[in-house]
């Protein structure tokens, strides 16, 4: 295959020793020598080896050759491109060579580190270098794409992570649209009484932030609303939001609460009270709700069911009730999006041997949060489900639905500390004996293990064993009327039966039930567990593979309040960074359609998950929007006419690399010579 590039390639090959990391297994001098001789006819002008190519001296070596030998292509054989591709491209750029004319091939992770036979590893390295040389011949100079950034940011989810992100961006002076599905922001944190490990009152630290978010001049707060569509790309997203009808005119409502007081119908509150309490049909989930306007639950409303009642309307002093309100569709242009949609509680009924739903005094963690909450259904009094009896003994079960192949593989991260907090609250409120049944106590954060120490001091009984079953079948005297927790105390190697009055299941955290739809809506991907995937698990934990969309809080994986806040702030910082740049440069790895070759078959149209391919009905050809295209190349591979090509990963480049890797370039020469 001959190069169609007009330019005659002048290629420099640089083979790195990486100390002994590569040189220990690969004869790097031999590789460089071979490249200089055997690939000369392929345009290799110079081939060198050096101790550490990535050092400034190594980079200078390349830069010097570019200038002095007039190199127009560079191949570096060293570590993985994920480590140093940017380093060498920048070095080339600084020497006046377009950075995309530099290719880094890996002979460390892909060769020296995984093999032991030096001869074999050296031969493989030669093939890898040869592949790089053939490939770079087809590279073209590329320029990053520049896209303007709209200064507004949309934040989806008004829990603590979303609130934090909203405040950070708003305080920096940029507009935020905060969308919350429930009537009030606050999320799960608003349901808690105390927060570990300091035992601050959750409401005391959360409500001021909620109020700020509700009143901030730069924040548009949309509660009782959901995102229904997302179009566009980084810097220019168009988001459609459905505002569900509140049946309350927010411009008239003062939040006085008379409607709630007068509403004659009570229903079980499955959301805020976790099913442990009641709310009215017209309601704010809790007194400090933000915004303060109530929501009328149409499904349960007597007026909507039977056509009479209207108590709320009759008593409203400002005539704010409006039964004719309808769903509204709102459209927003934003530059970036932060997703902070949070988590849901594992359904403990799935573990039928734990008896939740059958045994009255088995509670979930969220139920206990409400039970212990001063504003909860019992006013903070810890009682059995009869609402009166104070338990004398309580068992707290860790890892319910977590670390279990039958349910969720992952550790829910917060349950150990949460269970310790519960143990403390039970001690404090009831003086009951408390048994914590755990597999491992995981208290790996600042001041967490100290809290564990404190619980030991308080006399909590710690039993190391995953609970086998919870039953009301009394077997021995003393078990009648109790709930019996059967567990192996693994530290003594014996089965134990703990007769207790109350059991709290520390149920794990799960992705929201609609996580798949959310991922699809925003063009993101989730792991097999259902959590959204970050761009890099360590080095880029809040960005996603979609430019301009970030994730914060538990939507990325189970985490506690401090970590959620940190991620909210981190996501905001990433968004602010882009806003300040006013425009964003994007990797120019994109697909393009040769309009002359396109037959208009539209096969590519449906393949693109980012809707980057438009079809021009008038001309019957497809076109790729470079700002939407993420460069995966699926359309390139699919185009039957060969009309689509991918910059950075073109057919020519890859086919040439195959030739190179199989040393076809050398063999052809040998055939010619013979």
């Amino acid at each position: 295959m001959e190069n169609k590039n007009p330019e005659t390639p002048r290629i420099g090959v640089y083979v790195c020793h990486c100390g002994t990391n590569i040189a220990g297994t690969v004869d790097v001098e031999a590789v460089a020598k071979w490249a200089a001789e055997s690939l000369k006819h392929r345009g290799v002008v110079i081939a060198r080896d050096y101790k550490f190519m990535c050092s400034s001296l190594g980079q200078e070596l390349i830069q010097k050759d570019i200038k002095e030998l007039g190199l127009n292509r560079v191949v570096v054989a060293a570590c993985s491109p994920h480590l140093h591709e940017a380093t060498f491209r920048t070095a080339c750029k600084n020497a006046g060579l377009n950075p995309y004319l530099c290719e880094l091939v890996s002979i460390r992770e892909q060769c020296s580190w995984i093999h032991t036979d030096k001869a074999v590893a050296t031969e493989k390295s030669k093939a890898i270098v040869s592949g790089g040389v053939e490939r770079i011949r087809w590279h073209e100079p590329l320029e990053p794409l520049k896209v303007p950034i709209h200064p507004a940011t949309m934040i989806v989810g008004g829990g603590i992570a979303g609130i934090q992100a909203a405040l950070e961006i708003a305080d920096a002076g940029y507009p935020v649209i905060l969308v919350e599905r429930e009537p009030s922001i606050g999320g799960h944190m608003a349901q808690f009484d105390k927060t570990f490990p300091t035992l601050d009152c959750s409401a005391c630290i959360l409500t001021p932030k909620m109020v700020l978010a509700g009143t901030h001049p730069n924040i548009t707060l949309l509660s009782w609303a959901e995102v229904t569509n997302v179009d566009g790309y980084v810097g220019n997203f168009h988001v459609t939001v459905k505002q569900k009808p509140r049946y309350v005119k927010t411009d008239l409502c003062t939040g006085c609460g008379i409607c709630q007081e007068k509403c004659p119908k009570k229903v079980i509150d499955d959301v805020f009270e976790a099913g442990l309490g009641y709310r009215k049909v017209i309601y704010t989930p809790f007194p400090q709700a933000v915004p303060k306007y109530p929501v009328l639950d149409r499904e349960n409303c007597t007026y909507f069911q039977k056509g009479t009642c209207k108590a709320c309307e009759k008593f409203c002093p400002t005539n704010a009730i409006d039964f004719t309100q309808e769903e509204e569709i709102l459209n927003f242009d934003v530059g970036q999006i932060i997703l902070a949609t949070g988590w849901e509680l594992f359904d403990a009924r799935r573990i039928s041997q734990y008896g939740y739903g059958r045994l009255a005094n088995v509670f979930t963690s969220l139920e206990f949060e409400r039970l212990s909450n001063a504003a909860g259904p019992t006013g903070g009094k810890v009682t059995l489900r009869d609402g009166v009896t104070v338990p004398k003994s309580v068992a707290i079960i860790h890892c319910v639905g977590s670390r279990d192949k039958n349910y969720n593989n992952y550790c829910s991260a917060i349950c150990c500390m949460q269970s310790l907090k519960f143990a403390h609250l039970v001690h404090e409120r009831t003086g009951a004996e408390v048994y914590n049944c755990y597999i491992d106590i995981r208290t790996a954060a600042k001041s967490y293990d100290e809290f564990y120490q404190r619980l030991l001091e308080e006399g909590t009984h710690f039993i190391r064993g995953k609970v086998a079953e919870i039953t009301d079948a009394a077997r021995y005297p003393g078990e009648e009327g109790k709930i019996i927790v059967q567990v192996e105390d693994t530290l003594i190697g014996k089965q134990r039966r703990l007769p207790v009055d109350m059991v709290i299941l520390s149920a794990g955290l799960e992705p929201r039930h609609d996580h798949k739809e959310v991922a699809r809506l925003f063009g993101l991907s989730c792991s097999s567990d259902g959590w959204l995937i970050e761009r890099h698990p360590k080095l880029d934990p809040v960005a996603t593979m979609t430019e301009g969309i970030y994730i914060a809080g538990c939507v990325q994986g189970p985490k506690d309040i401090p970590a959620s806040v940190a991620q909210g702030a981190a996501a905001a910082a990433r968004a602010l960074g882009k806003i300040q740049q006013k425009e964003v440069s994007m990797e120019p790895i994109r697909a393009t359609v040769d309009q002359d070759k396109c037959s208009g078959c539209r096969i590519c149209n449906n393949l693109c998950p980012f809707n980057a391919i438009l079809f021009h009905e008038d001309r019957m050809v497809s076109e790729v929007n470079p700002a939407l295209c993420q460069g995966c190349g699926t359309c390139v591979a699919a185009c039957p006419a060969g009309a689509i090509s991918g910059t950075g990963f073109s057919n020519e480049q890859i086919l040439a690399q195959i030739d190179g890797l199989l040393l076809k370039n050398i063999k052809t020469l040998e055939v010619l010579q013979s």
């Binding site: 573990i351 039928s352 039953t471 079948a473 009394a474």
Partner: protein, 319 residues
């Protein structure tokens, strides 16, 4: 619908009433069981404790016979939980492991047989009754509902655990038998021990352990004032029934709970006579409980044999 029928050793004699009542109860629904020709014992839980390959070969012989039985429609019904588990588990492991299948086939070849796993559905009798016949069809045939009879459905272990491909109910909190009993008009008690162990072979190996497990079960059912415990496995029936007096002696308790097969109650509700359902063979007399629903069981010759009595002659097979 026709199925291959694997009665298992117990149903030949000890649990003959299970076999008789099952046949009587399914007959009105047009379901036909074709007994596998010259089947052999499944090895219970004992053979696998001694010899792995032999135990798989033993069970595979039955699977091979079933596969050859045209009328079996690639389905085997086992009324005994242990037989069901052994057949189903072997089918699963053979399907998953070609090397195990290869060895088993080398052994089968000695007997002129071979078996290709992957197509056989092994099913418990209860599965056929509740899923293939169905609650609605059964409800339509109930002529004498078990009104007022307090029934404790007892599942035991091996039809609900481990999770095999043939599993049809929850491993911890099964409900199919509960629903069936409700359809028959009984008052079903929801007691926590319904899927716990009946003691299995522990009555033989460590009496104290075995009797304690039986006691726990009887205690829980008695706490809920049950009239009768209904089972679906001959081993469970034998343990709870035959050892009940030993439990009473050992723990100084006074349990007197009859243990019947679910097919027997099904038959009664459908108006079949007690004597045609093998009722009367239990150690714990079921007559007082059944009298509550107006079922009369004809007197059997003997109530309690005394020590002096000589063995009875072998009786002819029941119809």
């Amino acid at each position: 619908m026709k199925y291959g029928y694997y009665p298992g050793c117990s149903l030949e004699k000890n649990a003959a009433s299970y076999h008789v009542s099952a046949m009587a109860a399914i007959k009105p629904f047009g379901v036909e069981f074709v007994e596998l020709d010259d089947w052999n014992c499944c090895g219970a839980t004992e053979y696998i404790s001694l010899n792995l390959m032999a135990s798989y070969a033993l069970i595979a012989r039955n699977l091979a016979i079933a596969a050859k039985t045209a009328d079996a429609n690639q389905q085997i019904v086992a009324p005994c939980s242990a037989c069901y588990l052994n057949l189903s588990k072997t089918e699963k492991y053979l399907t998953e492991s070609p090397s195990l299948t290869e060895k088993v086939n080398i052994a089968l070849k000695e007997g002129g047989l071979s078996y290709k796993p992957g197509n056989m559905r092994v099913r418990h009798l209860l599965d056929i009754v509740v899923n293939d016949i169905g609650y609605d069809a059964i409800a339509s045939k109930v002529t004498k509902p078990l009104k007022g009879l307090r029934v404790a459905p007892y599942y035991g272990c091996m039809i609900v655990r481990p999770s095999l491909p043939s599993q049809f109910d929850d491993p911890e909190y099964p409900v199919t038998l509960d629903k069936l009993m409700q359809v028959l008009g009984a008052t079903v008690i929801d007691y926590p021990m319904k899927a716990h162990c009946c003691g299995g072979h522990m009555t033989q190996i460590s009496q104290a352990t075995g009797l304690e497990l039986i006691r726990q079960l009887l205690q829980s059912a008695a706490d809920y004032e049950t009239d009768v415990i209904v089972t679906l496995c001959p081993m469970c029936q034998l343990n709870l029934d035959a050892y009940q007096s030993d439990v009473n002696k050992y723990f100084k308790t006074k349990f007197n709970i009859p243990i019947l097969y679910f097919t027997q109650l099904m038959g009664l509700a459908m108006g079949i006579e007690a004597r045609d359902l093998g009722i009367g063979k239990e150690f714990i007399d079921a007559r007082p409980a059944l009298a509550k629903i107006g079922v009369e069981v004809p007197e059997t010759a003997k109530k309690k044999p005394s020590k002096e009595e000589l063995p009875m002659p072998k009786m002819p097979e029941e119809v």
